[in-house]
Symmetry: C2
Subunit: 427 residues, 2 copies
């Protein structure tokens, strides 16, 4: 168990959350037109603040280099004029999306004449704890504002200067528009205790969404007393069935692994039905090797990896449960669909699982029996994405079962309220 949180930090975070609560009441009652107008002005404000944002970002990069930050992390952190413009454009894109607030989810008139309806309403105050690129700061603010929520942002310290400048631009714009600046709050002080205070501010914060690596997410899940939506760990499989079209299997495997290997919907493990191994492995392993993918293979796959000239190692048990976050892939043979689904149960994380097959029965069983946020037949795991699904935006991909599962966008940032309209009814 962890040490107690510094009471001064708790007090600070609670005060910020309570100011956010007051702001959220105003946001909850705003019309779509007013929210969209505000988002467009926020976009302009972010663009206008480009010099300050780039200055803040330059400071972050300098600190990063001093601390030995890797080139790839520096690239994720780096902003330039085009990237700031893209960040601002994302706010305009959110303005164009439909407003989930006010949607009547269901309703009826009861036998006694009571009219009941379940209506989408904002959550209230949402805490975002994240490590990623500074664009998350603006995306989260835009999605929360559009869904009528105040947001408290706890970004990674590596992006502190960038985030500060971005949030200052947005808060100044909100104030200029006569809207509560506390709709968007950056939690800058208090070190690790601040994040812990945020996730234990039950009653003050309605929802915490962690976005980042496994350590961050596990910490939030373990310590939070505020409801959490767990996002993003993906040990995704591609299972090439005995009845697979091997051309499709090849294209899907390559795409799922290499199109963007650092993200959670990339494939981490390839399972191949034993009956098609001799036909399929030479092609797929050669192409994977050609794309620079390092393989972690079961012993019986090793000769094929050898023949394909691939860089490979014999996989340990743990390798099959590893999210590589890069150009690495585990490969194993299976006897049948059942063994494939057994392995997915053991090593998968309930994110995205794909089968490649032309067999209707196998596809039906796979989609019915595999327990994951997204199950796919003959498609790349990379399609698990709010943008690809047509949501227009994404605040994360939920891998838990409560409230939201899979890509989350605006409706997932709302809750509901029952409105009961009567004429004096009693029981």
């Amino acid at each position: 168990m962890s040490a107690a949180i510094d009471p001064a930090v708790v007090e600070h975070v609670t005060a910020l959350a309570d100011r956010a609560r007051v702001a959220s009441r105003r946001l909850a009652l705003m019309s779509r037109a007013d929210k969209d107008a505000a988002l467009l002005r926020l976009a302009d404000a972010v663009e206008a603040a480009t010099p300050a944002i780039l200055a803040g970002n330059a400071g972050d990069l300098e600190r990063g280099r001093g601390a030995g930050m890797s080139e790839s992390l520096q690239d994720r952190l780096r902003l330039d004029e085009a990237r700031v413009a893209a960040v601002a454009q994302a706010l305009r894109d959110v303005a164009a999306l439909p407003d989930p607030v006010g949607e009547v989810v269901r309703g009826s008139t009861l036998a006694n004449g009571l009219q009941i309806r379940q209506v989408r309403v904002p959550m209230g105050v949402i805490g975002m704890i994240y490590e990623a690129r500074p664009n998350v700061t603006v995306d989260a603010a835009g999605l929360c504002l559009k869904s009528g929520n105040a947001v408290i942002l706890r970004g990674g310290s590596a992006a502190a200067g960038s985030n500060h400048a971005l949030v200052e631009a947005m808060r100044a714009s909100l104030a200029e528009q006569g809207l509560p600046a506390d709709a968007v709050t950056l939690l800058e002080e208090g070190g690790r205790d601040a994040a812990r205070a945020l996730m234990t501010a039950r009653g003050h914060v309605d929802l915490v969404i962690p976005r980042g690596g496994a350590d961050l997410i596990q910490t939030v899940v373990r310590e939070s007393t505020v409801p959490v939506i767990e996002t993003g760990i993906g040990v995704c499989h591609v299972y090439v069935d005995r009845a697979a079209d091997l051309d499709k299997a090849l294209a899907i495997t390559l795409n799922a692994k290499t199109q963007r290997p650092s993200v959670c919907n990339a494939a981490e493990s390839l399972l191949v039905h034993r009956d098609v191994a001799v036909d399929f492995l030479p092609k797929v392993l050669t192409d994977l090797a050609g794309a620079g993918v390092r393989l972690h293979v079961s012993p019986e796959v090793a000769p094929h990896a050898d023949a394909a000239g691939a860089a490979y190692a014999i996989a340990s048990e743990a390798d099959f449960g590893t999210e590589w976050h890069g150009l690495e892939l585990s490969v194993a043979l299976v006897d049948d669909l059942d063994e494939a689904m057994d392995r997915i149960r053991r090593f998968g994380t309930g994110h995205t699982e794909a089968i490649v097959t032309e067999d209707r029965g196998a596809a039906r069983r796979f989609t019915a029996e595999v327990d994951a946020a997204v199950v796919m037949v003959n498609a790349s795991t990379r399609f698990t994405d709010g943008g690809e699904f047509g949501f227009g935006a994404e605040i994360g991909i939920s891998t838990q079962k409560l409230h939201a599962r899979g890509p989350m966008a605006l409706p997932e940032l709302t809750t509901t309220k029952w409105v009961v309209d009567g004429d004096g009814q009693v029981r």
Copy 2:
């Protein structure tokens, strides 16, 4: 922070949960017809086991009396033939309800030809931690089975003998039917550590629902690492507006307070607009006094309470946030709708809040601005109930915002899965 949980208990609970997981896979694939048939046979089995159930219950009552259990608690615990028949009938009622599993919530065909659909699927393994009457044991088992979930039941120790007999009857029936008995598991050993092991069995248990008093619920919320749905604390207000029809206000106040005062949707606090106080208070306080309600009043209400011959005390600040669970009610005057909503924000628990008014504007503001699971206009707070809402059943009333809010029935015991159907699509 709490002491570590006994590792042997953790191992025991994890093993039970993993057996429940295996059972849940079978349940998830059962057709509605098969589940309904199983529920009807469970109902017969419970009735057939009446002698064993009554014997178990008699033992519980004897222990209770020995430990000085109050008469009202004994009455909640007591089973007789008619009550066992009612418990069995509840399983038949659940069989008659529609099956939420398989419902397509939304779907579309993407520009690239991918067909995506979001389908309701069972949660998997649900933990119920409760203190209440033995009927909850059977209700929860029936609702979980119908929604394709395995359930681990952790009932109150006061009902241990009753729960044991009820669960044995159901498990024996499941086994006789060739269904997995581990679909319904009673967690009987391990003392307090067993409940703690259940709520921290993340990955083994998908959802924990606590039902009971505030202490139980707060413990689960604080200690659980498994996602939780918080249920049931209700400090519900009736606000009698300046524009109220005072006859409706009288009927609603009396009904909300006295029809069943021990439950969470009973009113605990009455707020009266100052302008109607002189007309309304004499009537309502007289009738409340006549119904045996003890009042906790603000000083300016005291003379009215006196005149009405009511038993009353001057209310402390804490009294206005108290869930009385009985024939007690706090009463205060307010200057206007804003002050009423301020008090509801301060003292309410987000359960059910009612306004009595004929003023359309006041009703619109109240329903828009009050943040609660259920907001009512001109209706008794007692209508917040799954049965009343037409759900046919209820597993609890959620007072949190994540996943479910208000009365929860079968759909709230499910999650969703995205099924993506392709023909070789890649990004």
